[in-house]
Structures are given as C-alpha cells and as structure tokens.
Symmetry: C2
Amino acid sequence: MTTNAQAIEQWGIFEISLNGPSEGNPYLDVELSARFQCGDRTVEPDGFYDGDGIYRVRLMPDVQGEWRYTTRSNRAELDGHTGSFTCVAPSAGNHGPVRVHNTFHFAYADGTPHISVGTTCYAWIHQTEELQEQTLETLKTAPFNKMRMCVFPKHYPYNRNEPPHHPFLEGADGGRDFSRPNPEAFRHLERRVLDLQRLGIEADIIIFHPYDCWGYATMTPDENRRYLRYLLARLSPFRNVWWSMANEYDFMLKTIPLELWDELFQTVVERDPYHLRSIHQAHLDYDYTKPWVTHASVQKWDVRRSREWRQQYQKPVVNDEPEYEGNIPHTWGNISAQELVNRFWITFADGAYAGHGETYLHPEDILWWSKGGVLHGESAPRIAFLRRIIEDAPPGGLTPMDGLWIWSRISGSSNGGYRLIYFGPHQPKTWIDALPDSGRYTVDLIDTWEMTITPLGTFEGKQMIDLPGKPYMALRIQIDG
Amino acid sequence: MTTNAQAIEQWGIFEISLNGPSEGNPYLDVELSARFQCGDRTVEPDGFYDGDGIYRVRLMPDVQGEWRYTTRSNRAELDGHTGSFTCVAPSAGNHGPVRVHNTFHFAYADGTPHISVGTTCYAWIHQTEELQEQTLETLKTAPFNKMRMCVFPKHYPYNRNEPPHHPFLEGADGGRDFSRPNPEAFRHLERRVLDLQRLGIEADIIIFHPYDCWGYATMTPDENRRYLRYLLARLSPFRNVWWSMANEYDFMLKTIPLELWDELFQTVVERDPYHLRSIHQAHLDYDYTKPWVTHASVQKWDVRRSREWRQQYQKPVVNDEPEYEGNIPHTWGNISAQELVNRFWITFADGAYAGHGETYLHPEDILWWSKGGVLHGESAPRIAFLRRIIEDAPPGGLTPMDGLWIWSRISGSSNGGYRLIYFGPHQPKTWIDALPDSGRYTVDLIDTWEMTITPLGTFEGKQMIDLPGKPYMALRIQIDG
C-alpha cells in the first residue's frame, strides 16, 4: 500500500495506518517500525497495535520538505509499505516541542522562549469525564503552561477511585494483564494531551509512579520495557509532551533499580528524538548530570538552594514540588499561599523554574493536585502575575547575579541590562546593593502579593533608593541603552 | 597585709586590694596573682592594676567554706599577702554562672534551668549615660536574658560616634596606646555587667571585633594576649559573664589567624574556670567541636538546619544572629518581625536557642542592635511569649524528635511526655504525625503570632486532630501520667 502524499505541518503528526493480524498477541508478537527520510534526516519510530486489527506508525516531522517512508515488520502484511508526505510550515500557535535553551532555560523548537510554569493534577485523566472537562475549563484561565500527569491511575490518600480506563486490560485472574494494553485508555490519554496542546500546555507525562494497588508499580523489567516502547510509539509524536520517567522514583527502587532507570532513560533517547526527559525524586536525588537527562525535575522545599542545583547540574532546574498550597495533614501539601508564592519568586528570581500544586481538603476528596477540578487557593493569580513579569524579561532567561554575599539570603538575576531582585521576608526601607554602578536606569517596585508594579523613577549611577519597608517586594531594573 | 575574714556569698566577688608601684608601666611590668584555696579547690587568678597605685585580685568563690589565699608578685610590696574569707550560701536570685547542661542545653551552677533568649546591643556601653539608662529601662520589661556586647567601641554604619570611655588611653601620637588600659573604661564595663546581673541578664562579652577605626582590631598578638588576660582578671569573677572570643572573627584573620584564636581560647580556659566560651562567625564557620568551645554561637539565617548543627557540634547551639528584625538596606538586618519570630520558633522547637536584634532606621541612628535605647519592632513580645512556653516545658531541654521525614520541613522536639511541634508556614487543617501512639494526652494549640494558647482537649491514642489551617501555629502535647 502506498499512502498518497499529504501536507502535514511541521511538528504536527503524520500517521501511517495499516491493517494487520489481530490473532495471537500483537503487542508481544508483532514488530513494526517505519523508516522516515527527508533529505539527510532519518527517523525510525516504532509502530503500535491500536486494536481491531489496526496498526499505526506515527511521526512528528521536524523539518519541512518531502518525507518518504518504508515500513518494516516481522509480518509480511505490515512490511514494505512506502509513501510520502510534505511537511509544510507550522500553523499559527504551533512553535514545536520545548527544548533546552541557553543551558538553564527553555525555548520552543522555533525559538520562541518558554517560561515553564507548571502545575500538577497527577490523575486528572482518571476521573469522570465531567471532572476532566472542569479541569480543562479551569486551565483555560489559569497561569500554567505545563501539567504533570500520570499515565497510570493513582492509589493514594484522597485517591481511592477506580479509573474509567485502565491502561492495561483485565486478565483472567481479575488483575491487570500487562501483556494486553488497552488502546481505548491510550486514545483517551492522547485526546487529553491534545486538549492541553490546544490550551498551550505542555503535558509532563509521568511514565511510572509508586502509588498503586493494581500492579502497575510492580511490573517486571520486561513488562516495563515493552510498556515504555508502546507509550513512546504512541505519544512521542505529540509536540507538547515532556517525559518524566517517574514520580518519586526512589520509592520504586525495589522493582526498578537504578540501572534499569538508566536503561529506560536511554530507550527514550533512542526512540524519541524530540522531547525533554527528566525524573522526579522523593528523598534520593537522581544524578541529573547523566547525559540522557535534559533538565532537573526536583522536589525541594528549600528553594534558596536553587542556585546551587543550577550550578551542580548545569541544566534547567524545574522545582516541580516546592511543597503545595493547601491544608492537608501531609507536610508536603499544607503551606500557605503566601509561602508558595514566596518560593516561586525565590526560584524564578534565581534563574530556575517552579511548579504549582494545590491540596485543600475537599468534602469529596477532589484535590487539584491529583484530580483537578477547580482551584480554591490564592497562589494562582500571583503566579500568573509572576509569569507575566518573567515573560516580559529579555529572552534567553535569567542568570543569577553573583559577587555579593547577599545572594545567599535574597534572590537576584539579570539578563543584559535587565535585573530582577526579590527580597522575600526581607523588608528594606532603603536599598543600594546590586543597583547599576553607573549610567541611567529605571526601577519598578513589584509587590508580589498585591500584584502591583509601581515605577520608582529613573536614577543615574549607584544610589540608595527608597522602598516601602514591606516584605515580599521585588525590584525590576532596566539600564538605559 | 592580712585581710580579715569576710563573708562572701557563693558566686559573689571577693576582691583583694593592694597598694603597689605606680611608676613605670604597671600593665607591662608588674606580675600579680593570688592562689586561693578552699579544701581541695585551688584557683589562681591574675591580678590587675586599677590605676592610682591600686592593684586588685578578684575571685568568684564557687564552693562554700573557708577560702585562704596568698598573693604572688614580682614586686615585693605585692607579694606574699595572705588572708581568708568565708564563702556562704548565695543570696536569693543568685544561681551562679550559666553552664552547659545535658549536652545541648544550659543551666545555672545551682541547677536552675537557663533558657537562653539573647539580644544584641553591641555598643550600648559606648553611648551617652542617658541612652545607657534608657537601654536598661527597656531591658527591665524585655524578654531577654543575655546581651551580646562589645568591650571595644564600634565603628560601622550607624556607628560613627566616639565612645565616652576608651578602653585604652590616648598615646603621644593621638592614637590609642595599647600598653595603657583605661581603668575608668573597664570600671564602667563592670558597672554595666552588674546592671545586667541585677536584671537577670547574662553579659555575652565580645572580646574582639573587626568594626574599628582606632586600632583595636589590629593590635599585635602580644597586645591581644595582654589585653585578654587583663580583661579576664577583671571580668571573670562576675557570675553573669559569657565569653564570646569575637564577633565575625573571620573578618580579622589577617591580624588574628586561626592558630592565635585557638591560643586565646585556651588562655580563657586556663585563666577563667567558670564561664561559657564561644566565638561568632560571619562566613567561615569555626569548628565548635574544639574542646575549648562550650557552645556554638552562630550567625545563620537558614534556621531549619538547627538540628544539623546540634548533631555536628554535640553542644548547645545558640543562633545569635538569625538575621535581625528591621528595615536597613543590609540583608542581615531587614527581616520582618513575623519572619524573626518564625525563625525563633523553628530554632527553639528544634532544641536550639536564638538571639534577637533590631535594626530599624532611626533619625539619630539609634538602632537597638548597636546602641540600645527602645525597641520599635513587633518581635519582642512574641519572643517573651515563646520564652514562657519553653520555660514551662519540663527541665532538661528539648530533644528534636526523629524517625519521621517531616522533621526536615517542620520542627518538633520532646522531653519525656512533653512534645512541641511547630508548623511555620505550614497550615494543616488536620494533623496526626508525631502524636502519641497510645495513652491519654492533652493538646494545646499555640498561635505564635497572636500569642494565644487554646486547649484542644484530651485525646486517647493516635488520632487526627482538627487545627485552624493557619500558618505559624504550634502544638503542645502532654502525655498523661
């Protein structure tokens, strides 16, 4: 079969659909891939069985031009199919996948800066359709452009419900059969990833996690390997995917020892040439300097160490869990909105990135951090305000200022003639440190909680400037010319 | 000359006064000491020249009974004087000097617990008499029982005034003559130490400091050695003295290298058998495990590490500068009252001690942290409230609870059936961790900012208890029986 040439936008999805064997176990028995070429560029993604005798191979074409392909399979009916398509310019709003930019920062593939401001609804796709739609509705006006979310359902405090779609089918013993993925569940996942894409939100897909009562967290190494390749075959072509190998991987070391994590990471590198890759810890830091890791996705309450982690890893630092705004009895989920906003500002003003979560007790256990729904807290609008300020900074990202000992106590970073200083619980009534030594510059006072920006005027040369003597203020400085 | 037997209370001051040579330089040329004996106890303090031909040797008798002494000197008129006195029971309110108790805590020599709650008025004795009297008036109702204060005057931002009494006399060149101490200045210091003693306040005497324009910070090693022995001869007999070898010793390493600090420390050990000894750093931690150090006197903003320092030093940790409440442009002196109170609670609820300072801009540069005067801030009453709560805990001091990972994020310590948990910016609406596993216990809710204690009732066995979901709360738990 030869598919007729189609036009596919750059970073869109081209899909080959083939009919093949449905007997036996296609997941275990059928090998399928396609070799795609466009000029010097060659990519060979895996295909996958999507049920009902249908096999698919997907590609996210990342260069414009004529692409040709040939399928390969251990089954004659799937082998040797060829075809071509034309990859054309991306449509408006399609900037391609997010990549590391300027060592410590992110940009879309077309060069557009990406200021990562994440949130977390781990199991939102495993709730009722109604609740999922409400989550999407909330996200429309929320400040978040990344969502941490799990492929597998979640079993944990406040999470005792069965998912509507299990990623693996029920086996003869009533448990999960890890040799039979459920195409419907994965199609559902894909739909939700596309929903996020339409909202400009990156899907930070958590491949493994320990919160489990169904067996997902205790699959065998080979089951893990097969599942990973299946997931990559299906999801890699979605441009808004980030890969998070795990949440709290160190709670799973009995079933996935460090060597296997490293191997699985390398599988992602081999099978997905496009997307960001990290892993999220509980207590045992993963070594983010390993070459297959693109950025550090950490869980750290002590955000004043953000500079240290940047220095240590020489990669973007995304603190996906600087504790959550909320009031549950778990210490990771009960800081005040003011404290979370403070931690966000410290993190961003030291040239790193933070993620949000919300864990307020709810009569029906609908906590945003896991199930989505609506936001109840006070941090989100302040995070929106912060995001606008960081997005208004010059492109290329902020670099921590150094040379002054104060940077162990307050936050400050710069980009060219732009400087951002954040005081946190400090409340100076006058200030001079880190102001420009000479030349003209303008200063804005930012009240991070009240969300106000007050121009303080234009100054010439280093001089003491007056401030209100209140905590949670920041200064934005722009040197003229 | 034989002095007639007098009655001196335990930990009071016995003083031998002798007439001797006033020609030449008694400070350099005359050696004087006295050997005191009471039963098996022998102490041989240095004497000192107090001007006008008068020499003194002082002793703080620390055991009750008959003490006898003989003076020794390289001058015949001062040598071989003998005498005796009776050391009797201490008067009311005299508990003796403060000592280390129970590894990490303090108690007076008579066993009375001492909960160290310090403040800082570095140069208060170098201000006008009127201002000094105002400082003492403020201290009468303030919550502090330790005062960090310098022997030498201070030259620093907000500190540009000459002291009324220079510890060393003016030399021929108009500078200080470090071979001629000024007895009047030291008598003044002693008077102020006694004033503090009457208020129940320990004088944490800072022997050296770098904030100087007179030469005190750049004396030669021999000048430093002589000055130290002179100071010890005069001040050691005051029971409310603590020795702080320096403030920010690491800013003086050019003139006092580490070996000399160590030597000077050992001089204190040899010449003063009574008092606590530490040293205060800026950026370079002193090794507080050295045997001549009795406790760690640190400057640390990141108070959540208090447990770590306890563990590291195995001595009491006194964080004398967890930054100051204020609004000056210096980052060490502009945190909010709420943040300082938060840092105090974290420190005390993790079994360590903290010191206060206040640095609000003042039209006449009278900042409490240096000159004293009156308090302008909001932390002092909250620190008073905290002190009462810690003093109400069982004697012996609090030990950090362990065995739960939450202790890296919130604070908690215990003593027998007593437990204190402090949540800081955490605001749980319900709570169960670290509550007793079984038995009956009562719980009080403490609002550390509003200074209220609300009984939550009596509970039986580990169970979830309801809290208000507000930050800066603490729980006090007392297990029955």
